[in-house]
């Protein structure tokens, strides 16, 4: 169970381009995102909990829940360490 509701930190914005590329706009830089990071971060809105995000990803993609949870948690922790995400 994880009821934490992640949100983007001040000065961090998620962006998808018309061509389908996804990126995180951060202070003084741009991080290009791979497909799974993009699918995960597209669900971050400060409302959904980590559980909600894992459920949504499991429903939408062919991925076992444990694996989705591990990947999501790892990504969020990495971004939180760099001050891009608030957990």
């Amino acid at each position: 169970m994880n009821a934490v509701r992640p949100s983007f930190a001040k000065g961090v914005r998620f962006r998808e381009t018309a061509e389908g590329a996804a990126m995180l706009l951060i202070p003084e830089g741009v991080l290009m995102l791979n497909g799974s990071a993009a699918a995960t971060l597209a669900l971050v809105d400060g409302q959904r909990s980590i559980d909600d995000i894992v459920d949504a990803l499991t429903a939408a993609y062919d991925v076992p829940p444990e694996q989705a949870r591990a990947e999501v948690t790892e990504l969020f922790e990495r971004l939180a360490l760099r001050q891009f995400l608030t957990l």
Partner: protein
Amino acid sequence: MTAQPLSILCELTYRCNLQCPYCYNPLDLERYRDELDTRTWIDVLSQVAAMGIVQAHFSGGEPTLRADLPALVKAATENGLYTNLITQGTFLTDRLLDELLEAGLAHVQISIQAPEAHLGDAIARARVHKQKFEALQRVSKRDVALTLNCVLHRENHDSIEDVIALAERYGVRRLELANVQFYGWAYRNRLGLIPARAQVEHAAAIVDQARERLRGAMEIVYVLPDYFGEFPKPCMNGWGTTFLTVTPAGDVLPCPAAAAIRTLKFENVRTQRLDEIWKSSESFEAYRGTSWMPEPCRSCERKELDWGGCRCQAFLIAGDAGATDPACALSPHHDRIAAIVNRDGDGDAGELVPRRFLKR
């Protein structure tokens, strides 16, 4: 494949009330007095948004000296761009902050010269320390992301612990401890600015400890200066790949320091569309990719990691923008870097010349 630009650096003006000798702006500041007007900048911002650029950095000089800064931030925001203001803060009043935040400003970088007033004002050649710290206080209370930046050089390198402590005191979440890079005025002043090797090593240890202690609370950006390393920095992640600069007079550069490269001719937004300049100008094409590379880059396994290093540094130090960056240990000109690190100069070569406009 045409590269996709992502960021633009808008150098709105080279005017500045400080005279820091580590400034990377060009020596011939007076060539840039004829600044682009508001309409032209707004057109530039709309052109780059159409090219797929997503981020606009406003800098200079001191960009808050332009009265139209809020209007330009607003235009960038309306074009969907993420906006970043790079300022030394002396003019950042509550009123200006209100206008900038209203215009959609996403991030502010405030730079300080030193954590203490005496040293800070001595480096800036101006009594501005108090104003800057009032601005820092103001911004830290606002709903906007903040980076605190301090350029490190011989005169302030030993204050690094105090800079970190100060950032903690102001609740800064992102701190840039930027080792001076040698372009423009900083290149002119390189022998006086280059830190001692012991200072650089000491700082690296302090930063490691602080990162551990502040894990999750503050991101500290500290990059070892390339003059002290083995490999060059991958400047701009490759020439003309994601980034462009527009100078106060409208010249379009692949890198903020590129005006120093006298062998290239740069196009101007007053006479040409930006997408054409990006795609096909001689200056942007000159060092794109790897086919321009000489040895030892050409056969180097790191060629798509380092991209040959920095073209501006190659021009300044090796006299050829197409040479391997002399900061690379494999460069035939690497001894010239060693000479700077060892401060092999004559007499007063280490004397610092303040950045300033010369009379016309």
